[in-house]
Point group: D2
Chain length 320, copies 4
């Protein structure tokens, strides 16, 4: 950024004390293209944020317009007054909740912020994608675009760390209940994220089963799908490599990625495998951090597009 | 058992210091239908076993015939001399390795010990099933027998605790590498257990992806499959309930089972779900302990059939 | 028990849906000296208990007197009406809360149920000891009795699994907050359990620091203390071995015990070590399950004394 | 660093594929005051390092002198030929092994690199401190210097994550053995690190019990000690705050720090507490990452002193 500091755009975070808000603030703390102006939180007002010199303040909608761009890290369903205040005050919005995503039923002029697919440079309201859909869509959209997916069911088995469920106290998420456990949930194809995936992949039959892992962070998605004649794992890797050559966070591997390779980073790793004895069916394995590329990392990618910053500014591209 | 103690059959365990052998011995410790005679181990000779008054002794094939029935808990590929010694001495064998299972390529007169499906009462050599196949076959065989599975691919996503990989030192199984991780392995449909499943379900197209969980014990299998017209989740639950009414360990649930509900027990829990927007496709969730119904528990079930003991003798039917 | 079933004493559990109540019920399920009559719970009424044929019922104090003996597994501070109802109806009580323990400030005629030290055979109200004190007192009381502890501070560093904190939702006990963590708490020597220890060891200066472990079950206590001239680790092991020869659960080891050796059992393991370069100071390491010997296991030991059952009836003496 | 890139000192890492070497390389990857020249590893030659453009090369002592300064991240006892090669070639050395530390028995002119206490600006050979001693000495040295420690035993109970034991395969460090466990080790006051602590605190009687935690990273040390009349927790906090005001990584808290507050960072957090009923005895709680301030972070602090870089260059001061 050649821009002098005093002219950098200002940003604010609303709902900064949850896992997602905290990760946005951690990235803003070393982002060289913005000036953090406020971090609002109902529960944490007065305590420090990861941004040097910035403390949490109480959640007051009058504050929104003090920043050129605001990240909404609220519970789902609570964004309406904040979006209204932002629009009234001329602030742009990156909404990390489900409120404006495809399939949510909401009517809005939000742009869906799947960064590598949609241009949000001019958007005033960006709907940051859900965590599970980010991996599924990143893996499948290049195949769909190339006509590589054949008729039949795409079976998505996904597993997420507990941070995907947030920080509110719940008996079933206590350490004593999650350690040693592994559970499927949202059975019957009824998870909210499936609607989002279907809206973005309308021509494909999707079956989606999410699971809860006894780990803090990360999502691994194992996808089995029927492919068109002539399509094999090498074809898929080639389609991905071409499509994502410019992405600062998406990488194509020969081996299957594991959760620890992406934890605490903004990386998303892709791999594809043929199946012995089952020509015409591939297995894809996708790994990323639900709070990274699945939330805050992608929000920062969208920020970078919106303000014209370098694509990798503020991102965490090494797992720790 | 009305039999007097002195006439109870004698049993021995070869390879008792691994996870599987240890679990067999724990069950034998309170089994009221047998007299434990020996526990042989290369590495643990001299140390105590879970059976009161029984210490590990060195692994000497001459000892085999001292017991009426012997459990082989060895590394795969090492059973040949022990089976030969047992047969020469007139001892019956329950082999917990992969050496005599269907699909192993071995020619033998072993009976496949999937307890609820095959009668091992008269068998001299029982091939105890692999852990992953136990859950898959228990779930699918009643459906196959009823013609409930339609043409198409059955997609099996399975996840196992680390005890399934045994107790030998491996850098990739160190605590520091497994904690916080989740990995797919055996990609490309090449896992040994898949051959066993295919041999037992020859008319079905199977796609199998195993994963490694950061937990000690348990397997959860999430299976998506195409079903014949008119078949729904309720049909499947009914087929299972009828077929397994007499089993001491298999239970059918309305809700999806979780790993903690089966850990350290011999239970196997089954559940089935319809999928909104995808008529004709069901999701099955199966949970059991890889060392319980997936190994030692099923070996004890087979023992009970072979010696005419009550079906539930020695089993652990409450998770802890 | 040679007694015919119909004449066995009846028992009830109040507050059976927490961790402690559940463990009492698991032991009662296979206890051959009592007939479980009821299990009362505010939150779990209607659901099954570990005792075959017994479902949870709503928490109604009128029910107490239906059993000859009742286990109180309630939150601390809530026992008064239940004890009153029991006494009015002639039922004996084992109170697993802190309400009647030494140092609690309560005046009562409760007998302190540190099983190997106090005779509860005739008691009508037994105060079951706290988890931390059980290990500390078991280790130190034989030394104090023998005059083996020298003047100076006994420093107790203890670490417990999360089940010690119960099952109520708390944000700081979520899996995402406990995994990877280790914390000291109750700093400043202010933990309630310290009062209990001091009351039972009045002549000793105790410094107590508890810690929270990222494990489900178990307590490890590492105690450093000044000893009288001539006392060394061997002396201590001998004192323990003599004092606890008759206990079904206390064992003296040469090596330091670890948490996994006691998890899910009622065992308590003791070890003692000299310190190179520091004559006159020993280190003791004590391990047991906070829900076993630290709660439900000791309650069952007390039950056995009260009803004249064998000392090991219903106990779990093999870790799993 | 105003210096032009071409004149920055060059650095190399020997033994870069273990946990410690990897953490040094991660910090060098974003250090603005050096040019990484090589990373040598017996086992990882050919694979990528965290430093962009730098691959591991085979471990050849002829390479040492290509860098102005070399980090030795070898197994203990293997540094001699590397130090000799460095000295012959005029390279300075930061040795992260135990080989040249106080109490190791080695005679050498190494400077002990406890950064906040010793000046290594001119040193040619720096002995980077052990992990456990780093926390203990940081906490106690200001007290000893002020005469605040009274006669008697200082009792140090420490617990470390498994990364402290390195990455070599060991059966007792498998996930299946460590999960759910907590163990004391090095009992009898015989741990190598105790010699190092005693050498650096010669006037103090130390009792040291290390434990192994089921976590990946971090050390928590809980220290109880007798203090001089008039010394209380506030005094200690004041001594620390004054002594460490200039440190980029040491901070004094009012509350006890936890492991998650320091994991994956170079921070070291200090806290002190009075004990009710025990005047004259304090409890100190210290937390830091064994691979951060306990190894690689302190090595980078030493590097910064040796090359005149800013004190916080390359350090990780936010936990993740």
């Amino acid at each position: 950024m050649a821009t002098a500091y005093s002219t950098l755009p200002t940003v604010g975070v609303v709902g900064g004390s949850g896992y997602t808000g905290g990760e946005v603030l951690r990235r803003l703390a070393h982002h060289r293209g913005v000036r953090p102006r406020y971090a609002l939180s109902r529960s944490a007002a007065g305590s420090a944020t990861p941004v040097s010199g910035l403390a949490f303040e109480s959640a007051d909608a009058d504050r929104v317009a003090e920043a050129d761009l605001v990240f909404l890290c609220l519970p789902h369903g609570e964004t309406a007054p904040w979006v209204a205040a932002a629009q009234a005050g001329g602030s742009r919005v990156i909404d990390l909740t489900a409120d404006h995503r495809p399939g949510s039923g909401a009517e809005s002029d939000a742009v869906y912020g799947l960064t590598e697919w949609n241009d949000v440079a001019k958007a005033d309201l960006v709907a940051n994608p859900g965590c599970y859909p980010t991996g599924v869509l990143t893996a499948l959209k290049p195949l769909e675009a190339a006509g590589a997916i054949s008729e039949g069911v795409v079976s998505i088995h996904a597993a997420s760390g507990v941070s995907g469920a947030g920080r509110s106290p719940r008996a079933d998420l206590l350490f004593g209940e999650v350690t040693g456990d592994f559970r499927a949930y949202g059975l019957g194809n009824g998870h909210r994220h499936l609607k989002e995936m279907r809206a973005a992949l309308p021509g494909t039959e999707l079956l989606f089963v999410p699971h809860l892992l006894p780990v803090e962070r990360g999502i691994l998605e194992t996808i089995t799908l029927p492919v068109a004649p002539g399509v094999d794992a090498a074809t898929v890797r080639e389609l991905w490599a071409t499509r994502y050559a410019g992405s600062p966070v998406i990488r194509v591997l020969e081996e299957a990625p594991t959760l620890r390779q992406v934890a605490r980073s903004d990386l998303l790793l892709l791999s594809a495998f043929d199946n012995a004895g089952l020509p015409g069916h591939l297995t894809l394995v996708v790994a990323f951090d639900n709070l990274g590329k699945g939330a805050a990392g992608q929000a920062i990618q969208n920020l970078n597009q919106m303000i014209g910053a370098p694509a990798d500014e503020g991102l965490l591209c090494v797992p720790s």
